[in-house]
């Protein structure tokens, strides 16, 4: 027996390691994710990511600054036109906001708070087989806190998961650990959006709810992380099965994560 163990020492150690890892995973499925070693490892990898990305970003910014200068005049004209159009829209929106505030006051509703944001740069996109996360270049030194919402002009990106002094890890909408309280904009049907790696699924939507492909899904504000009304994605598939209380609704995120370079963190 001893001879067998000594002879196969390495194989037995490996088998024990695999068994331990399997046990570790099953425990986490039941009790939640372990976060031991997370902070030191993320701190080191965050620093390295900043160091690695710096020369790359410098080259890219030089490229953008000089090589693409050719189209600047044309782009400038377009942007001026866009600013003019947006100024008119802002004027109309301001009027609507004031009207909304007056009506809310009349009805004793809570006043809408303006959004306060911090601009961040994406310095890393993690491609773990089982998760979708990004690293941003700001952390607790810049007042970033856990569970703050991360957005772009297109819609919701995700929420801050781990905060370090100089960097933070953000769970994307498509990460299996991500959940967002949402509603369908057209008919206000509520549900919970869960990440499914390639897209998202809307859960707990009643069989009888009227959900159609192409419907816009927005945040409902019920999770106290994302403010109400932010674009989340579009319904791409609806599956209804007999004798199943909920329907399966797949949602394509509004933000193209592969092209993400900058984002905003909502601090309020």
């Amino acid at each position: 027996m001893n001879g067998f163990i000594v002879k196969n020492k390495k194989s037995i150690t490996l088998l024990l390691l695999f068994t331990t890892l399997f046990w570790l995973v099953t425990v986490q499925v039941k009790k939640g994710r372990f976060t031991i070693l997370e902070r030191p490892v993320l701190a080191v990898s965050g620093i390295l990511e900043r160091i690695i990305i710096w020369p790359f970003n410098t080259v890219v910014s030089i490229g953008r600054g000089y090589i693409f200068l050719v189209n600047t005049e044309q782009e400038n004209r377009k942007l001026k036109e866009e600013i003019g159009r947006l100024r008119i829209e802002t004027g109309v929106t301001s009027e609507l906001l004031l009207e909304n505030d007056r009506l809310r006051e009349m009805l004793n509703f809570r006043k809408l708070q303006p959004l306060s944001t911090i601009a961040v740069q994406i310095i890393g996109k993690e491609l773990s087989p089982a998760s979708s996360t990004i690293t941003i270049n700001k952390g607790s030194n810049d007042q970033i806190q856990k569970d703050m919402a991360v957005i772009t002009a297109d819609g919701v990106v995700g929420r801050v998961q781990t905060v370090l002094p100089g960097t933070s890890k953000v769970f994307l909408l498509t990460d299996p650990g991500s959940t967002v309280a949402v509603m369908v904009q057209r008919n206000r049907e509520e549900g919970l959006l869960e990440g499914k790696l390639v897209n998202c699924a809307l859960k707990y939507v009643s069989y009888y709810a009227d959900i159609q492909e192409g419907d816009l899904v927005v945040t409902s504000g019920l999770d106290d992380i994302y403010p109400k009304g932010l674009a989340v994605g579009t319904v791409t598939k609806v599956v209804k099965q007999e004798a199943v209380a909920f329907q399966t609704v797949l949602v394509e995120p509004a933000v193209r994560f592969s092209r993400l370079e900058e984002a905003l963190v909502l601090t309020k």
């Binding site: 695999f18 070693l37 997370e38 990511e49 690695i52 790359f56 773990s128 087989p129 499914k196 790696l197």
Partner: protein, 170 residues
């Protein structure tokens, strides 16, 4: 392989993967550098050493991506074991055909993960996942591995990373 080479790989693989490979992304798909490196380690060393390397790389990935601790450790360990067993039976590791095995390993790993997610959280769009992410990524990773092997072969790096006595491990 020498311990400092492993230390170098372990420390740098995650930051490299999450930063430098982003420009290579095509329609949101980018090659999996850690899998390609692990496959090469498997070919160069042997099943036990490659499995241990896979577990270590996987654990780093789990911590770095804030996912279930040990999950990638488990799957990457199995990939390392497979690559090590393959490497111990293949004489010419610079043969380009060998990267086809990486395509298979990558696909099998992806399918295992999808099945796990299906079992734990349900409603994973299985076929979209395979056609839209797993297959292109497996092919892209194999292409990267092929380029890495060619580069390493030309520069004689493969000979520098001394091959251990695999028969002993088996």
């Amino acid at each position: 392989m020498k311990p400092y080479v492993y230390a170098f790989i372990l420390v740098l693989i995650i930051p490299f993967q999450s930063t430098l490979l982003n420009p290579l992304s095509i329609f949101g798909i980018k090659p999996d550098l850690s899998l390609a490196v692990l496959f090469i380690i498997g070919l160069l060393t042997g099943p036990i050493e490659a499995a241990l390397a896979g577990i270590s790389i996987g654990l780093m990935q789990d911590i770095g991506s804030a996912s279930l601790l040990g999950f990638s450790g488990l799957t990457r360990g199995l990939v390392g074991l497979g690559a090590g067993l393959l490497g111990s039976r293949v004489l010419d590791i610079s043969n380009p055909v060998i990267v086809l095995f990486l395509t298979v390993f990558s696909l099998v790993e992806g399918i295992l993960i999808s099945l796990f997610l299906q079992a734990t959280s349900g409603e994973v769009p299985f076929f979209t996942m395979i056609a839209g992410r797993l297959v292109p990524q497996a092919i892209y990773t194999s292409v990267l591995c092929f380029i890495l092997l060619r580069f390493a072969n030309r520069r004689d790096i493969l000979h520098l990373l001394k091959r251990r006595d695999i028969q002993k491990e088996l």
